[in-house]
């Protein structure tokens, strides 16, 4: 897609996110909206996948380590035709394949179940290792939150990916600077993020996470890089696109009511 089309697509995804959360009555808008542009570029321009054959062995893999942002993943999958768009409105309801946090046993397109933070990057690293053993050109992408980086397992994974020089692995950090209890540096300072990944042998790229040109360039650089995993540290705005949610910690894990859903959708027209 051209950048103009990506922008349109991202807008649709944001609308989907708001609609599904409004219908669910609970869930996590903030981190879903901050990651929307990164996810749209990845799913519509980068990942080699076959929505009609979700288990196609040659597919690039995506792991949503920050599983609470399931809505943005579900919206991308639905917009790509993995399942009907109407199904988005079943989010978090009894019997739905759209669980509150992604469940691979319930939904094709989810590689591994997540929801407990800090676990996804290890799995992504393992897949990247397996792909190397198979001499396959499969690439692995993993989206993590900046608060999530406080989990020790993230750095154990970072150490191993650096150690094995997994250039087929790309970790995207949604650096919206907020977690549940407040600003990252006030709760538990995990900065400097870039230096930490560097220290573990990663290539790092810092970008504006809502600028498609920078996003696409970063993915391209990651794909070209040899002998090192890449971490893209993307500065983002939590709740991006909905004025009353932007950069507000209270919109981390709360669904908009009917009125605010309508207001948000109006802003996203």
């Amino acid at each position: 897609m051209e950048i103009a089309q990506l922008k349109d697509q991202a807008k649709k995804i944001r609308q989907d996110i708001i609609k599904m959360l409004g219908a669910a009555g609970s869930g996590h808008p903030g981190g879903s909206l901050s990651a929307t542009d990164l996810m749209t570029a990845l799913f519509f321009n980068i990942l080699r996948q076959q929505p009609q054959a979700p288990r196609w062995p040659g597919r690039d893999r995506f792991i949503l380590s920050k599983g609470h942002c399931a809505p943005v993943l579900y919206a991308c999958l639905a917009e790509l035709g993995y399942f009907p768009l109407e199904q988005l409105l079943t989010l978090r309801k009894l019997g739905s394949c759209l669980q509150g946090h992604p469940s691979c046993q319930d939904l094709a397109g989810v590689e591994v179940s997540t929801g407990s933070l800090g676990m996804g990057l290890s799995v992504a690293t393992g897949i990247a290792l397996g792909a190397k053993l198979d001499q396959s050109d499969v690439r692995v992408y993993c989206l993590v939150g900046d608060g999530e980086l406080q989990e020790g397992q993230i750095w154990e994974a970072a150490m191993s990916a650096g150690h094995y020089r997994l250039d087929n692995l790309c970790c995207i950090v949604d650096n919206n600077d907020l977690q549940i209890d407040g600003r990252i540096k006030d709760v538990m300072n995990v900065y400097p993020i870039v230096d930490k990944f560097k220290a573990f042998g990663w290539q790092t790229i810092e970008i504006e996470g809502h600028d498609f040109k920078q996003i696409l360039e970063a993915y391209a650089t990651a794909a070209k890089t040899k002998e090192k995993p890449t971490a893209i540290i993307a500065r983002t705005v939590k709740g991006k696109g909905v004025s009353f949610m932007e950069d507000r910690e209270e919109w981390h894990g709360k669904a908009p009511n009917k009125e605010l859903t309508a207001q948000a959708l109006k802003e996203l027209e």
Binding site: H101, S103, I180, V187
Partner: protein, 312 residues
């Protein structure tokens, strides 16, 4: 009936103790609003530590604080307190018998729409197998408050299972709470329902339904899963000769297993178990999930009839 979440009993006790006991310190892992530990933070910010999203470190720091004479209460979701940080709980805290208290909130299926990843259905099994650890499963707000107060009074590690959803208030501020003593909630001679946590209210409802059919059910509240009140269980086996256990937890390894161990060793009688039957949870509204997983009063009634038939 008035409803209140047990997690608020926890924080109310923390605040009360915080005012008089400078050694009370509280830790959380980026969930202080959900666990309600932020209420303590607001009063005693200098004695509150948010470790960020790092539950293993949470229990490790609490362990260290206890070694300096503090009485740390570590708060997070119970899936992370009992699961993610289990070995820190086992080896650092329980093996060393440290004076660490853990408040695990959002236990059980009532956690609702977040789904299986967040619904702790294994924590009774994970905690009751640990030597030195005391495990409290309060049934309501007041019991949660008393469990928290009792935890601070005791020496050694204590795990308190708390819930997110408001649940009926069944006890009063005067009801006694003694570690290791079950609470007789209702007298009866035909069958005994032994329950903990949110299932105590369902069991009392079930007893009322059974009464309409002339079946007199005894209801026992096991707020102290460990140490377990063997006496009250053996007495129930002797006197009613039929037992139903009820818990918001996996059947394997939980209250039902604990009660069975006592019954089989001392006075074998037919026993039926209400709990989640070896499946993961799923997303849904809390009450809807209670029905879906057969944890309601009517399910207890059915189990009571089944066990009565076996009793003959």
């Amino acid at each position: 009936m008035e409803k209140k979440a047990t997690r608020y009993g926890y924080s109310e006790a923390l605040i009360e103790m915080g005012a008089t006991n400078k050694n009370i310190v509280v830790l959380d892992a980026d969930l202080s609003r959900s666990t309600s530990s932020e209420l303590f933070k607001k009063k005693f910010p200098e004695r509150f530590f948010n470790v960020g999203i790092a539950e293993q470190n949470l229990l490790g720091l609490a362990a260290g604080l206890s070694l300096t004479g503090k009485i740390p209460f570590a708060s997070t979701y119970s899936i992370f307190a009992s699961g993610r940080a289990w070995e820190q709980l086992r080896t650092t805290i329980c093996y060393s018998n440290l004076n660490v208290k853990i408040g695990g909130s959002h236990g059980g299926i009532l956690t609702g729409p977040d789904g299986a990843s967040h619904q702790a259905l294994e924590e009774f099994a994970l905690t009751r197998i640990l030597p030195n650890l005391t495990v409290f499963v309060p049934c309501d707000f007041f019991e949660a408050k008393k469990a928290t107060l009792a935890a601070a009074e005791m020496k050694g590690p204590v795990y308190i299972r708390l819930g997110r959803e408001p649940v009926p208030v069944l006890t009063t501020p005067e009801t006694k709470f003694i570690s290791g003593e079950g609470l007789l909630m209702k007298e009866g001679q035909d069958v005994t329902i032994i329950a903990c946590g949110s299932l105590v209210a369902e069991s009392l409802q079930a007893a009322l339904l059974l009464e309409k059919e002339n079946i007199k059910a005894r209801v026992i509240n096991i707020h102290s899963l460990k140490p377990l009140d063997e006496k009250i269980i053996i007495q129930a086996a002797r006197e009613t000769k039929a037992i139903v256990t009820a818990e918001e937890h996996q059947i394997y390894g939980g209250l039902g297993s604990a009660v069975s161990e006592v019954v089989v060793k001392n006075y074998p009688v037919p026993l039926e178990m209400i709990g989640v039957n070896d499946t993961f949870g799923t997303s849904g509204a809390p009450e809807e999930l209670m029905r879906f997983f057969h944890l309601k009063d009517i399910d207890i009634v059915a189990a009571a009839k089944k066990v009565l038939a076996r009793k003959g």
